[in-house]
Amino acid sequence: MNERTREYLRGRFGDHYRQVSIEPPPRANEREWGYIPFSEGGTRMVRHRAWIDLVGGADDLADALADDSVRPQHVYYSAGSYDDPGANSMGRKGWRGSDLVFDLDADHLPGVDPEAATYAEMLATCKEALLRLLDILAGDFGFTDTDVVFSGGRGYHVHVRRADVQSLDRSARGEIATYVRGSEVEFEDLVRTEAVGGAAGRTSPAEKRTLPPEGGWSGRLHERLEAFVDELVAMDEDAALERLRAFDNVGEKKAAGALRAMRENREAIAAGNVDVHPAFLSVTRTLLTEALAEAGAPIDEPVTTDINRLIRLPGSLHGGSGLAVTPLDRDELADFDPLDDAVPDTFRHNDIAVEVTEPGVVELLGDTFSMEAGEHRVTEARGVFLMTRGRAEKAPE
């Protein structure tokens, strides 16, 4: 990014902050604040700021950000609250508690190749994961009151600010992260094994494995299993057998055995018994192991476990895209299109001249453009997007 581009963006980010109002997070004065200014190199973080250092006498947080002494490229605040948030080391800040934060980033999504997928595709996959995350948080944890934010970059943040999560330590947060992710959970973790004593018939296994229905991961997987069994039992024989044979290590005989066991043991299976037949158990194991990998939300664990994490400020601009870090209501979520809805109004109305240095596709404002190298006039939002991503420089008007 050259000097002219930097000065341009700095000026326009400032104009933006002059026009908007930003609602600070709760307990803003107990939090640490930080920002990265528009300066050469561009990664020097100014941090350990108290609210008062940043905002001073300004009426609105956005006014403070618009001030010439700040005009940041990126703005952050801490998930943690402190006695003395402006102290220079964590030890001296005096930790009081932290919001519980979840970060979904397209970079960390399994099955997404950041090289191959388009920006819009990545964001769409991310939104699906977000919906699963919110579902787990509400249904399992009872965290229904969450703040959902589009990060302005490649994903979403979810903040849980209720009082009883504040004091959770790293390890408790780690437990939550592992739970939410699901992917490190193993089928065997969820199955209860009981020794079955006595002289039952010869088919009685010496151990009985159950997947407790209702509640937790075992409940969620049990639901999947029930749906699968219902589906197979309803199919005609040949189709059902074929479906079963598609599993690894399941031949004709095993498929027939498993199917018979499913038909004959509907009730036992509904009660959680997964030991009704050896082939059924192995099919179940495969099915549910796959489900575990897909049903969780691939959050970035270190963000959740770090009680002193700095998070991007909702309402601020992301200096690597020019998009607004956008707070979202739950009912806006389904229709939210980050590449249109997160484009700040400030950048929608003018055309500007840019020199494209890295040609390629730009998806923004509902359109997909292929940009050649060289000088162009584009809608300012597209220009800002290209410049902040390092794909263009400002050209003289």
Binding site: D164, I176, T178
Partner: protein, 348 residues
């Protein structure tokens, strides 16, 4: 009420009772007596036997006051792991008591001197977090569950294995009792070690000395990191080293004591030890080292002062020797002192 406080001295009500009784702690520890005796017993048994229960009968007042005394003692003891061990023992005792009390409450035979589940939950601010669901089952709010289970080992406590739903973790009766034990442990450990005012520390110095001996005897350090400081070695080890370096072929037990002692320095390998002790068979040292380091258990622990004395290897005892019961504890104490003190002792 007194009896209840005596049995559960960590309850807020008990703390208030101690405060309102306006006891002069300085006078109490200076004069000694049953509260101090019982306080010493609490810590000693906690550290050595894992329980804070008494082997004698003490009055309610002594029981109640012995708890703050014990917290002061364990703070003064300042031994690694001591506060944790102590808190665990107090919590285990509390659990035994409240489990019995809950059973009595359920059978409605309670005479008002027992602690009910509701009272305990209320004292810990958990009333809103634990809800009975019938059949000896309870729902615990997930944040409280995570806090209380964080110190528990065992896969079954992992959140992913729990039937978490709507913000609660279902637990059974026994699990709830374990979680409450953890709540007690947390409370007992809170604020430990205390900063103890000098007059109280002085009043308890003898008791602390006794405890230190008892603990060092049972639990010497098992490994040291960093360089070995020859100036901090106990007299017995100096003597054994001198003999060995002079070329004497040490008797088996003496050699074992010396190599075992040196083996606790993680940085030393068989060659180093052979060189320091002037032994010309590093292979044999290596063999002993392997057994010692593979199993830092009791079986191969280097001998205590008592064993050293029995073999006649305890020689040239100095002042510190009176306070410890294991050559490794001697080294730990001496190496932990500011170096000036050590020079004073040897400068002449």
């Amino acid at each position: 009420m007194q009896r209840l406080h005596a049995r559960y001295p960590f309850l807020s009500a008990a703390r208030e009772a101690v405060q309102s009784a306006d006891v002069d702690l300085v006078a109490l520890v200076r004069e000694g007596g049953p509260a101090v005796e019982r306080g010493v017993e609490r810590v000693r048994r906690a550290l050595l036997e894992g329980t804070a229960e008494s082997e004698e009968r003490y009055g309610a007042r002594a029981e109640l006051l012995s708890y703050p005394v014990a917290r002061v003692l364990v703070s003064l003891l300042d031994a690694p792991g001591a506060t944790e061990k102590y808190a665990r023992a107090e919590a285990a005792l509390a659990q035994r008591r409240f489990v019995a009390d809950f059973a009595e409450e359920r059978s409605l035979r309670s005479g008002g001197e027992t602690l009910s589940l509701g009272d305990l939950l209320a004292d810990f601010g958990l009333s809103g977090d634990v809800r009975p669901t019938g059949d000896g089952q309870f729902d615990v709010a997930v944040a409280a569950y995570l806090r209380l289970s964080s110190g528990l080992d065992g896969e079954d406590w992992r959140l992913v294995r729990r039937r978490l739903h709507d913000g609660v973790v279902p637990v059974d009766n026994a699990e709830l009792e374990t979680l409450l034990r953890e709540a007690v442990r947390e409370r007992v450990a809170e604020g430990l070690p205390l900063t103890v005012p000098d007059p109280i520390a002085e009043g308890l110095s003898e008791a602390v000395g006794q405890l230190r001996t008892a603990v060092a005897d049972a639990d010497p350090p098992r490994s040291f990191t960093g360089r070995m400081e020859p100036g901090s070695l106990p007299p017995c080890m100096h003597a054994l080293l001198d003999r060995s370096r002079d070329g004497e072929d040490l008797p088996e037990h003496s050699r074992f004591a010396l190599v075992g002692f040196l083996a606790t320095f993680d940085d030393l390998d068989a060659h180093d030890i052979a060189a320091i002790a002037g032994l010309d068979d590093p292979e044999r040292v290596r063999y002993q080292l392997q057994r010692l380091r593979d199993d830092r258990g009791v079986a191969f622990a280097p001998p205590s002062c008592a064993t050293m004395q029995a073999y006649g290897d305890c020689v040239n005892q100095d002042d510190l020797c009176a306070e410890i019961a294991h050559p490794l504890s001697y080294y730990e104490r001496r190496a932990g002192e500011p170096s000036g003190a050590e020079e004073d002792a040897t400068a002449d």
